[in-house]
């Protein structure tokens, strides 16, 4: 008999306790109810959730709210496909907008340990911002990539890796969010169109003679590329070649003609790629291997 009473006591006391706590929780949740717009949750589910900041907002959640409030267009997130952008547009009621041109990060330096020497050996804090104060970095070229990987730490998608002293971008993983551009204390990183097939791997402002002394692959502003470019897409700005990607059609002549190998293919360090220009542009000379060929050792091979 007392068994039954005991059970009753238990249910009474502890069941009652649980009842009080349960109701307390629900009542509290009413007071603390955060007005959560479930449309925002649907949008956040579509976004990659990497909080990379490429859209200019602190994270995917704040970007979703901005889209909902109409403050931002749905296509600002660079790593979304066209269908995802349309889906977000239709959820948020904003007008569907075409996907912005995808961009890819590009590091304007190829000063690896092989092609340039070090002024000194640095053993301090593992951060570019601290090494830059000591004479612009270890490497003899003041404009070169410091190589301590601030961009690597900033990249949410793990697309950048430092290979023997110089940072290199894995174009497949890079979503063009631009958080590495802000991370590099020497601002060596720029966003180039993903379709670009050649780019200048240098940003040295020294004269040619000085560059020759310290780096094998530095741009000596000889201007050969400017003369040979059929679309005159390349110009020399304070001793360094700069490609205007709206004019460039990726013919690759500049890469072949460049005596220092500063202009390279963005698809990895293969030999000067055979120039297969898109048919619509002017007809290209079919010279596959130029007189001067070189084997670019590293950039982003694997």
């Amino acid at each position: 008999m007392d068994l039954f009473i005991n059970i009753l006591i238990i249910i009474g006391i502890f069941g009652g306790l649980a009842l009080i706590f349960g109701c307390l929780l629900v009542i509290a949740s009413r007071f603390f109810a955060v007005k959560q717009d479930e449309r925002a949750e649907k949008i956040i589910a579509l976004l990659p959730g990497a909080n990379c900041g490429g859209c200019g907002y602190a994270g995917c959640a704040s970007y979703a709210e901005a889209v909902l409030s109409g403050e931002a267009k749905p296509n600002l997130c660079t790593s979304l496909s066209q269908e995802e952008i349309n889906a977000i547009a239709e959820i948020s009621g904003a007008e569907a907008s075409e996907k912005s041109l995808p961009t890819v990060a590009h590091i304007k330096c190829c000063g690896s340990n092989e092609c340039t020497s070090n002024k000194y050996n640095y053993g301090g804090i593992d951060d570019c911002r601290s090494l830059i104060r000591l004479g612009g970095g270890e490497k003899s070229c003041v404009y070169s990539c410091i190589g301590l990987g601030n961009c690597v730490k900033a990249c949410v998608f793990g697309a950048i890796s430092v290979k023997n002293g110089v940072a290199a971008v894995d174009t497949k993983r890079c979503k063009g969010c631009g958080s590495c551009v802000a991370a590099c204390p020497k601002s060596l990183i720029e966003l180039i169109p993903a379709t670009a097939r050649f780019s200048v791997y240098c940003s040295s402002k020294d004269k040619g003679k000085a560059v020759n002394a310290i780096c094998d692959n530095g741009c000596i502003a000889c201007g050969i590329c400017v003369k040979n470019c059929p679309n005159s897409a390349i110009t020399l700005k304070n001793n360094c070649a700069v490609i205007d990607y709206s004019l460039c059609d990726g013919c690759g002549i500049c890469a072949e003609k460049c005596p220092k190998g500063t202009i390279r293919s963005t698809k990895g360090g293969k030999k000067a790629v055979k120039s297969s220009a898109p048919a619509v542009k002017t007809e290209k000379p079919a010279s596959s291997t130029g007189t001067f060929s070189f084997d670019v050792k590293n950039t982003d091979k694997d």
Partner: protein, 206 residues
């Protein structure tokens, strides 16, 4: 739960129902589990208690020696907090109960938490032997202290035992546990002085 009524004060009936429903579910969960525990406890409670007392009896026998006609009689009125139980040990020698000693079951605060000792006292209040009932000291450190080699050093001691004096030296690396054992034995001896001794004397001259 989207907040339908914008003003927080008006608690509509649906919300009341929802509050009560959730509370009820939690209450059911809790009650079911508690009742289950109650049954399991009622089954295992006696076994645990039985094990507990068997352990103490075995310890008493190991300390006091296996005297067939020994009677173990738990004493009440224990004021001291660190002393849990006290057993008066008498042996019926030709039906005249002759006091052999006491067994005091006391707890001590060791490194890994509390541990329980059974301290056997002779009739004259000197320590006859100590055995460990349960402990949770770390293997290899605290446990080394609770072995017979260290505990037997307390035999024969009567009043305040201090660590480091005479042959009682703390086990290196396990000072916390050694101190705990010493303080526990001291509290037992003090307890003997304060309560057991008078009970003894007025019984002898009573």
């Amino acid at each position: 739960m989207l907040n339908k009524s914008s003003s927080k004060k008006s608690v509509s009936t649906t919300e009341l129902k929802e509050i009560f429903a959730t509370g009820l579910k939690l209450c059911i969960f809790m009650s079911v589990i508690c009742v289950m525990l109650f049954f399991v406890n009622s089954i295992t409670a006696e076994k645990i208690a039985e094990f507990e007392s068997k352990k103490i009896n075995d310890a008493i026998i190991t300390i006091m020696g296996d005297d067939p006609n020994m009677t173990i009689e738990p004493l009440e009125d224990l004021g001291d907090s660190s002393v849990k139980e006290v057993y008066k040990i008498d042996s019926m020698v030709d039906e005249q109960s002759q006091l052999i000693g006491y067994c005091v079951y006391a707890k001590a605060k060791g490194y890994g938490g509390e541990f329980n000792l059974l301290v056997g006292l002779n009739a004259d209040g000197t320590v006859k032997g100590i055995s460990v009932i349960s402990d949770s000291e770390t293997v290899g450190i605290g446990k080394k202290v609770l072995t017979d080699s260290f505990l037997s050093k307390f035999n024969g001691k009567s009043e305040g035992v201090t660590l480091g004096s005479g042959d009682i030296v703390a086990v290196s690396g396990a000072t916390v546990t050694s101190k705990a054992v010493t303080s526990c034995v001291n509290s037992v001896l003090d307890f003997y002085e304060s309560t057991l001794k008078e009970a003894d004397t007025d019984e002898n001259n009573g």
